[in-house]
Symmetry: C2
Subunit: 342 residues, 2 copies
Amino acid sequence: MRKKSKATSIDIAHLAGVSQATVSRVLRGSPLVNAQTRERVEAAVRELNYKVDRHASSLRTQRAGTLALLLFEDPTPDDSHINPFFLSMLGSITRACARHGHDLLVSFQQLSDDWHADYEDSMKADGLILLGYGDYLAYRGKLETLVEQGTRFVRWGAVLDDQPGVSIGCDNLHGGRLVGEHLATLGHRRIAFLGDASSHYPEFYDRYRGCDAALQALGGGMDPALQVDAESSEEAGFAAARTLLARKLPFDAVFAASDLIAIGAMRALTDHGLRVPEDVAVAGFDDIPMARFAQPALTTVYQDTTRAGELLVESLVRLVRGEPAESTTLPASLVVRRSTGT
Amino acid sequence: MRKKSKATSIDIAHLAGVSQATVSRVLRGSPLVNAQTRERVEAAVRELNYKVDRHASSLRTQRAGTLALLLFEDPTPDDSHINPFFLSMLGSITRACARHGHDLLVSFQQLSDDWHADYEDSMKADGLILLGYGDYLAYRGKLETLVEQGTRFVRWGAVLDDQPGVSIGCDNLHGGRLVGEHLATLGHRRIAFLGDASSHYPEFYDRYRGCDAALQALGGGMDPALQVDAESSEEAGFAAARTLLARKLPFDAVFAASDLIAIGAMRALTDHGLRVPEDVAVAGFDDIPMARFAQPALTTVYQDTTRAGELLVESLVRLVRGEPAESTTLPASLVVRRSTGT
DNA sequence: CTGAAAGCGCTTACAG
DNA sequence: CTGAAAGCGCTTACAG
């Protein structure tokens, strides 16, 4: 029960009564083809359900027509703990790829892997999209290597001044400031921060500094004693909140560096007998779909993942074509829900 | 600043002082090569950082070395509302692909799209993995077309008797029964079901019937008046629970066809002044990471996504090699948390 | 164990 | 506007 062998452009040529070269021209959309000839060829293509062989085409043109999405995870080798935020990004990236006529190869990578180069050198992909949280300083060197090798890539993440390559990121600083201002307006001054706040994690760090700036404008500031490291997961948020509670320092609000951290933290706070938002206000970052359905619904910062995915793909396609592309910062906006007020 | 042009097997051959054919043999792992020759070639490969050109190789062998994952979504064209359950599946599928030496192409598809065939005909992929909820009866016909065309594919979903192709699924019937028995043990007899319960959605239907069977063993059963359709999302669960409440029928437990539905439903129940689990017990299905952190933590049914991803890839690789592969049902297990008791 | 040679299915300068 | 021809970089029978 084998499927009948695949049609080639030669079959189409025979059927349409033209040369194989002309078939190829029609399929590539060459303007040099007579309209009637074009139609005959197209009819033959439909009749035999012909599809251009991707490998032959790519071998000839030296273009893969494919982009590779490398999702790297920091320490957790556990399948299930990928941030849902990246899932919506994945959705918009796949769609943008389809619109641009590219296929998308997806691979999960450890930060420690030697992922640079493989995809391009083997011609599997024309360029790379890098996505994921992780220690920036640890992987900055890899970005530099990519640039040196002339690899085309774009990454989602903080847009820094002296950064190798093209980055698309959210305005984390402004997002953090919005949260700080919101919490301050509600009268909170002792704001704990759950998440790494160092140059190793520039995105989290910017959120921290934005919040700090908002408090400083009021004569206050973040208290480093109220900051606890956490990667982006519910478990880490839960653990970080417990660490915070164990310090027995007063705080009236928690700004979690991501929604997952916030949700884990809310559980720890509740378990400890604290009410959210009556005893502690909690805010997150990302606006994942679950944020609306957390108990209480989570105040957070929205990032436009649809636009982000589009920009990532657009920029990469531009780089692949040899055109310039620039790093871009996308706006952040505050979404107020029950977890910070009534 | 172009990268220096890619090394080819001819460059390696020159450097190692052998023929290009021998280079190819070494890279394919042919046993016919002398150990010393092999080493010289491998050294040259390392020195030039050579990678086999995928397209040339695939064109010659007529194997893409790539599998395609088609994630289809039913009605929602919204990027962000993909079930996190599929995300963990995606993780395990990518890893299994890597282990089997295949790349993974990912694409999101509308159920209505004409996705069959494109990937294989253009040689982009050797086989397809189909993943997603959706109206089974609507897409059953497409599966039959795939089988007719000799397309190699596996799907995640209910394992039915007369099903076209190979399916890997969870034992939804048993999972539903576990939930029914658990709820019955707690004294609940009026169990509402949120989710479609018809042959259009065989997975949900099996969960429903399993629960029904558990009640029947005790002389009861599910009351169709307590069933409300819902696709797998928080919003749908929220809406379905409100519909249920509006019917003003007594019920003491809710079995949601998925965790997302359960989380949305808990919000609606709480908003309505009902306490979970004191007034209504709630159980879900899937055990997504968020289930542990729902408020209250959600009782649910665990499916082994790691094993599922492995099985999907293994089976497909087998089909691609022309070997037989069988549909498999994976076990389901109950995870009891606060939402059904103390 | 190794090399010379054919050929996978396209694309595109070249010639007309 | 169209065709004949070269060649992309491999793999693998074939011959030795």
